[in-house]
């Protein structure tokens, strides 16, 4: 009986431990990076780490559960705005934030007030996306809206929020968004040490997010999510309620996106409605696709690598980036449906380094 469990985890853990090893390697490299590269680059890297946290959540819902959300920019943006409200209030030193006076407001709106507390803002950065995801998820998944229909709805969500945030200039800063922060919890944001500290906080959050989600997919729920992706009906007729699981994973991915937004804002120094739009939301999907969906490590690699390439390429050839990413996406879809991780696994399997489960995991049918 115990042999069963041992040998079962034998095959599995061989692959999984490799993933863990790669993750540790990435973390070590990230942690040592400030010794070798400029502050400016470290700051960029901090931004990519925030993206990686978001990508893990996105991979849970897309790679594992097969639900393609094209509106995760909204959850990222909401998290970022929550944090930005706090930073803005701290910069205003008890006065009205600059953009509000320009827009003719005389008093701080009631919903801005509690955001003067940093920890309240951080909690809200995860809670508000979670609640919104619960609301949207409940209505859509309960009514069995799936596949491309859900994807289209999620895009509509993104448009609605961009329009809303642009329109409510007095409360949100409009198109310009929220910027010109001074300090966080009393520490000046222009200080190199504060920046470095934030960078290491991002790494710590990435480790936590990765650790939690790896734990999750190793539990039975991990297999239930994959089962929902591969045969929702069979799951339902095995006595599970897929709606519960879908809402859960949607909320979780929204919370991670919100967390990513919250750690993004103090490092980047600005959040605007453009970050919530459809284009950034689709780019997020591309990170996961290029890294390799269905593996958490793939999401991390994809997010960091694609964004590193993006800043590298846009520095030298600003116009080329969108062609490049489009081309890369096509190549991935056609030739590497399981992304970089899938490619590496394939090669490793061919040389007998890891036991390959034969063939690709699944084809690239975008919305199942």
């Amino acid at each position: 009986m115990f042999q069963v469990r041992d040998s079962r985890f034998g095959v599995r853990s061989l692959v999984k431990s490799k993933e863990k090893f790669v993750f540790v390697l990435i973390i070590v490299v990230l942690a040592l990076a400030p010794l070798f590269i400029s502050d400016f680059r470290v700051n960029l890297l901090g931004k990519f780490i925030a993206y990686a946290i978001l990508a893990i959540g996105l991979d849970l819902i897309w790679g594992y559960t097969g639900i393609l959300s094209l509106g995760h920019g909204v959850y990222f943006g909401l998290g970022a705005y929550c944090m930005a409200m706090y930073l803005k209030l701290e910069a205003a030193h008890g006065k009205l934030p600059d953009f509000m006076s320009w827009s003719g407001l005389e008093r701080l709106p009631w919903f801005w007030r509690p955001f003067s507390q940093g920890f309240f803002a951080l909690a809200m950065a995860m809670l508000i996306p979670t609640l919104l995801a619960f609301f949207i998820g409940f209505l859509t998944f309960k009514n069995r809206i799936r596949g491309v229909y859900f994807s289209i709805l999620s895009q509509a969500l993104s448009i609605i929020f961009v329009v809303l945030f642009v329109g409510q200039q007095a409360y949100t800063g409009g198109t310009n968004g929220l910027t010109n922060y001074k300090s966080i919890l009393g520490f000046s944001l222009s200080n190199a040490s504060t920046k470095l500290f934030l960078y290491y906080i991002s790494i710590a959050l990435l480790v936590l997010a990765f650790g939690f989600c790896s734990f999750l997919v190793k539990q039975r729920i991990g297999r239930i999510l994959v089962a929902i992706r591969d045969g929702e009906n069979r799951v339902r007729f095995s006595g599970y309620n897929p709606t519960t699981y879908k809402i859960f994973v949607y909320c979780l991915s929204a919370a991670l996106a919100g967390l990513a937004g919250a750690i993004y804002v103090p490092q980047v120094g600005i959040i605007s409605p453009a970050e919530m739009g459809i284009v950034p939301s689709i780019e997020m999907i591309i990170w996961v696709a290029i890294g390799g969906r269905g593996t958490l490590i793939g999401a991390v690699i994809g997010a960091i690598l694609v964004n590193a390439l993006k800043s590298g390429i846009s520095e030298s050839f600003p116009d080329v980036w969108s062609y490049f990413i489009g081309f890369a996406f096509i190549v991935i879809v056609l030739f590497m449906p399981n992304g970089i991780v899938g490619l590496v696994k394939n090669i490793a399997g061919r040389f007998g380094w890891i036991k390959s489960k034969g063939g690709g995991r699944y084809g690239f049918d975008i919305a199942n």
């Binding site: 009986m1 069963v4 469990r5 040998s7 079962r8 095959v11 999750l216 539990q219 039975r220 729920i221 297999r223 239930i224 994959v226 089962a227 992706r229 591969d230 045969g231 009906n233 069979r234 799951v235 339902r236 007729f237 095995s238 006595g239 599970y240 309620n241 897929p242 519960t244 699981y245 859960f248 489960k357 034969g358 063939g359 995991r361 699944y362």
Partner: protein
Amino acid sequence: MDSILQIDNLTVSFDGFKAVNNVNTGIDKGEIRFFIGPNGAGKTTLLDAICGRVKPQSGQVTFFEKDLARYAEHEIVNVGIGRKFQVPSVFTNMTVYENMELAVVKDRSLYSSLFQKLKKEQIARIEDILVTIGLYEKRFSTPLALSHGEKQWLEIGMLLAQEPKLMLLDEPVAGMGRAETDKTGELLKKIAQNCTIIVVEHDMEFVRDYASKVTVLHEGAILDEGSVYDVQNNQKVIDVYLGRGGERDA
């Protein structure tokens, strides 16, 4: 005898087309009941109505005195009705063992899926069933490596693991050879010791060998019901189904 499943005046219609038309029947405990009939007779729709996949227009299905219309699909599973679909539907991205694992769990809540491991007796049951369906040796391969027949058995095994009181099987032997068909039949007999079974099937030899009672459906309504012998000698049944099926005058 008490029937465990009672179908009363059941009508299912799709845009006015009555796929199931005023069906009345009762299934007794321990029976292996076969639903037969030509294509489009409403056999699969009848199974769908029992397991909650389609909502009836009128009439009701009661299972151990419970009106099934009030339950969602996954709740119907949890009161003890298992359903196997025509096309084998097993999860191809996990091992045979993991497929069974998802089925054997009794507490299917989010909390349990997050934190609870399988109990020892559940692991033992999985192994028992794997031996019964003959897939013990293949428990660590994915269903991609299984033959069509083995996939069907795996799905039946998954149903068994749920410990249902009633099992609905839609064409379990379609596409199987004679040897596999017989093996499936023996499997059903074994299962029927603890569980009632409804089978939709076209293979008349299979029906003859294993049915305890047969319900013939035609254009959504019941044409005849009784033992295999009675049904086979009913002129109406011969006309609409058996005669056409090429079984007698092939």
